[in-house]
Symmetry: C2
Subunit: 571 residues, 2 copies
């Protein structure tokens, strides 16, 4: 490709609204442009990278026996009503009406479409297992699109769905996908970790996220310092403290706390250790519980884990916090003065709270707290559960080492869905014994567009992007110095360009009438792995300059061996 015939679109300035480095570099290197909030056009250089990622994804999926299909972006509402997600899915599901006023959605995922397809196409256990995938445009109406294509509204996803007659068969394909994903992210050159994950709103029972480690990541990834244990923050278990609850040492007292509505205020004004305070949060109860609200207690320095809380049988799902009015109607006090004493509703306390003694909490009377509360002496010990986020230094759930927390970018996610969709949508096959059985399902997603951003987060320096060879937009850039004044430089550059193209190498030939400095800066900003600089002075010595993007130093190569040199570096 000649730069003069190309849309290079590099920018000198860093765009003001780009917060993370990948977003900045994708704009500056001419990979993407914003069309509207969360909607991006991929420029030529971006498309080249994207297609390389897609190729690797397809190649590994095909090797793993998955078969490619292509489903529509626009999906009819009726199948979403059938699965129940028409009601369950929040405003991220963009709903629309066609000219006939019929309801449709822009697909954020395709469980319904594929389940509808398979219930029609597959009738016998003999046709299973099968694993179908697509590389396709998705839409999620994010409340706050940001970080460029990292969290955009329209994006490209590889989504696969497998169908099985048994959990064992599902596990086999799940393991195949785990390996395929590991191969994909390894080939793309990402530093990633597979972590146990919660299955979230998509439902199901078993899941791993593939997280690319980067400080700009939006997810907390939890590791053990001394084992392979890895999980996301939603799932990571906060184990019960390995201590016995200390005996009470002080009498409980009711204290006026008119200016302490928060734990921070309480700690500051009364000089309490934060580990001796308890936060009380109130959420809606299930109808079946016979209560309106449930109180959830965590230590003052801990945070509620909403995913864990939602799994408690008496807590309504999806989790919904009580309003102040609802709290006052039942407790007679506001949210800043809640605690376990005389609370007319079910209480669930975190494992860490269960081993506290002499602690402070709201008195369920406005502007008052109880200090030195003790379980069993002052109030019965409530139900105990793991309902908090882990923190660094917590014991690892596998008993080995303590937990560390790093930021991660989720680029892949594999789920065992079980029969959630197949039962709701009556997707069955006839088994060997003649009985119909709902198919067990797995689903497997990769954020194709997000991978490009994640790779840049891990591969950049002050000069720009440093592409791994496998997904670089071009393998080689040729920079001829002052070519328009030097027929010799032009001749050598044109010949090398022709030779590289003939060898099947993707090469960018910077034939612009620009100063060498501008061309170097663009080549490094775009991050092309191999650079050849051709200039009069070096040609006098029969040499050209070669520089590998990752290396600090350039080297001189004899002109007659540069082609072989490049070919050996590339393959």
């Amino acid at each position: 490709m000649r730069t003069s015939k190309y849309l290079l679109s590099t920018l000198k300035e860093t765009p003001a609204d780009a917060e993370v480095i990948s977003h900045q570099l994708m704009l500056r290197a001419g990979l993407i442009r914003k069309l509207a909030s969360g909607l991006y056009t991929w420029l030529p250089t971006g498309v080249r990278v994207l297609q390389k990622v897609e190729h690797i994804v397809r190649d590994e999926m095909n090797k793993a026996g998955a078969i490619e299909v292509l489903m529509p972006v626009v999906q009819p509402a009726d199948i979403w009503q059938e699965s129940g997600r028409w009601e369950q899915y929040g405003p991220e599901l963009l709903r629309l009406k066609d000219r006939g006023e019929r309801d449709f959605v822009l697909g954020p995922t395709h469980e319904e479409v594929i389940t509808d397809l398979l219930r029609n196409e597959v009738s016998s256990y003999k046709q299973l297992p099968i694993n179908l995938y697509q590389v396709q445009t998705k839409f999620r109406d994010e409340v706050r699109p940001r970080f460029g294509v990292m969290r955009s509204r329209e994006f490209i996803m590889k989504d696969a769905y497998s169908f099985h007659t048994s959990r064992e068969s599902l596990q086999e394909t799940y393991d195949d996908m785990y390996r395929a994903y590991s191969n994909i992210f390894t080939r793309i050159g990402l530093d990633f970790r597979a972590v146990q994950a919660d299955t979230g709103s998509i439902g199901g029972s078993y899941s791993h996220e593939f997280q690319v480690l980067a400080s700009s990541g939006e997810d907390d990834v939890i590791f053990s310092t001394e084992s392979d244990y890895a999980a996301n923050i939603e799932l990571a278990e906060a184990v019960a403290p390995n201590v016995t609850r200390p005996a009470p040492t002080k009498a409980m007292e009711l204290v006026d706390t008119p200016n302490a509505k928060t734990i921070a205020e309480l700690v500051e004004q009364f000089n309490l250790p934060i580990e001796k305070t308890v936060k009380t949060l109130m959420v809606k109860a299930t109808k079946e519980s016979g209560h309106k609200l449930v109180a959830l207690l965590v230590r003052g320095d801990h945070n509620l884990n909403e995913v864990k809380a939602e799994k408690i049988d008496i807590v309504a799902s999806p989790l919904e916090f009580a309003t102040e009015a609802e709290i006052r109607a039942i407790v007679g006090a506001g949210p800043g003065s809640l605690g376990p004493i005389n609370l007319p509703m079910p209480i669930v306390i975190d494992r860490s709270v269960a081993v506290m003694s002499d602690f402070g909490a709201g008195a369920n009377i406005d502007d008052k707290h109880y200090f030195n509360i003790n379980w069993e002496r002052d109030v019965a010990l409530p139900r105990v559960a793991d309902i908090r986020n882990v923190v660094e230094g917590d014991a690892s759930p596998d008993g080995k080492g303590v937990l560390q927390i790093k930021r991660g970018i989720e680029v892949g996610h594999i789920f065992q869905l079980g029969t959630k969709y197949s039962e709701a949508m009556k997707a069955t096959v006839q088994m060997e014994d003649g009985q119909n059985q709902a198919m067990a399902m797995g689903c497997y997603g990769i954020g194709v567009t997000r991978i490009v951003a994640a790779s840049i987060e891990q591969n950049n320096d002050e000069r720009g992007i440093i592409w791994p060879d496998a997904i670089a937009p071009f393998s080689v850039v040729i920079i001829p110095m002052n070519m328009h004044k030097s027929p010799r430089v032009q001749e050598v550059a044109e010949k090398l360009y022709a030779d590289l193209q003939a060898a099947g190498v993707e090469v960018l030939f910077d034939d612009r009438k620009e100063r060498p400095g501008v061309m170097f800066a663009d080549a490094e900003l775009i991050g092309i792995p191999h650079m050849v600089v051709i200039g009069e002075r070096n040609l006098d010595n029969g040499e050209v300059e070669y520089k590998y993007r990752k290396a600090a130093e350039k080297t001189m190569i004899k002109l007659d061996s540069i082609l072989d040199h490049l070919k050996s570096k590339i393959k």
Copy 2:
């Protein structure tokens, strides 16, 4: 690919709601499945064909110097308001609101997005010409989706947009695209014609359609019997008859015609030759004309060409027919009794009408017609224009031969848009003299998904699809007879499968426990070009059976030369 691991999804029965052969065969051969009206899932066999078409399209676009980008499916309304199409585009443009109640559309084309991109990315004449393309999902909310993917609502299009500083540069790229399109359709193996076309609602000045000839086509394609002249029905000129208007022979008379509201009734009840009758149609006039309606007269056996009519300066655009109430308010008679005598509005008559004499038409009095009307004697000759569709036997506009009409499927369309979008959206570049100038634009579309259907319309027989080799889902199918009972058949089949795969040949290995007849029928239905049948009896002679899908006869090939035989046939 082993059939046992594949989603073959062939059907024995022809689905009842599939009207055309390509739709029937795409369903029966397991290429597509309907999700909802105008929305189709592509099954594995369909995806394989689609990707081959996409590959050829990309390859020829790249060779022609076009550069690939990727724009969003969802587009913000503001750029459509800027171009004016937010108002002009009918209900085929699906409008939607996001969670913030902002207006968006599902892109039916991308002129606005690309023009917005280029006005930001390109500032100097030095950066032009440039030709950018994408292969991307489009949505048009068709009032009547039909014929499967031939006229679906969601479809894949290759759309390209070129930008220029001069008409000459635009013409060069237009010619490049004309050649690229000819190469693409030739490589895909389509019997097509490039025809002059009207530019329609997209605007612009010069255009060709690439039409695949097939009886199920929705377009009329017009050819000369004796020259290269080809145009679509919207554009094909109906030349002025090469005759002088005959002199009047009869006196005009007013006739009671209470039961003749249509030309057909008039002709039948009064035994008039249809060529001696005139139809009067009334459409809205432009505001500037000072009139409400315009009357358009065509011969009784001709049809109004709405595209030609819309181009008349006093006719409102888009063309809108007058209602009966509007007609009665001005004329005092209904639509079944209209004619040129005493008509209080501008009249435009077709060239064929201008040479009529002694003709019948409505009297502008309910239930009455005038017979034997003559121009100039009974009423002044009105303005004359070409406002009808051509009919077979009309003289060719280039003076050579007469016109023929065939049905065509539009698979490609190239336009010279000129500055329609760049002026509306202020997309300018600075010229050498420092002045800013709106960029001239071309746009170039190919219906990628539609090509698959069009190919089947031209390539099928009573047994199924006959793929051209270039886009066949598999090159070879191996059919082992009773393999599950014959280790020898299995061994030979497995070895041939492995050898073909090693040679890079795409091969389907039918390893199902099915009767040979079922396997033959599926292979021919799917239309795989090369079939190898392996059976005990032929192996006794050291032979296997080879059949080319297009050929009637099978041939016996020595087992030790079948691999070379296939390789020679395929490349």
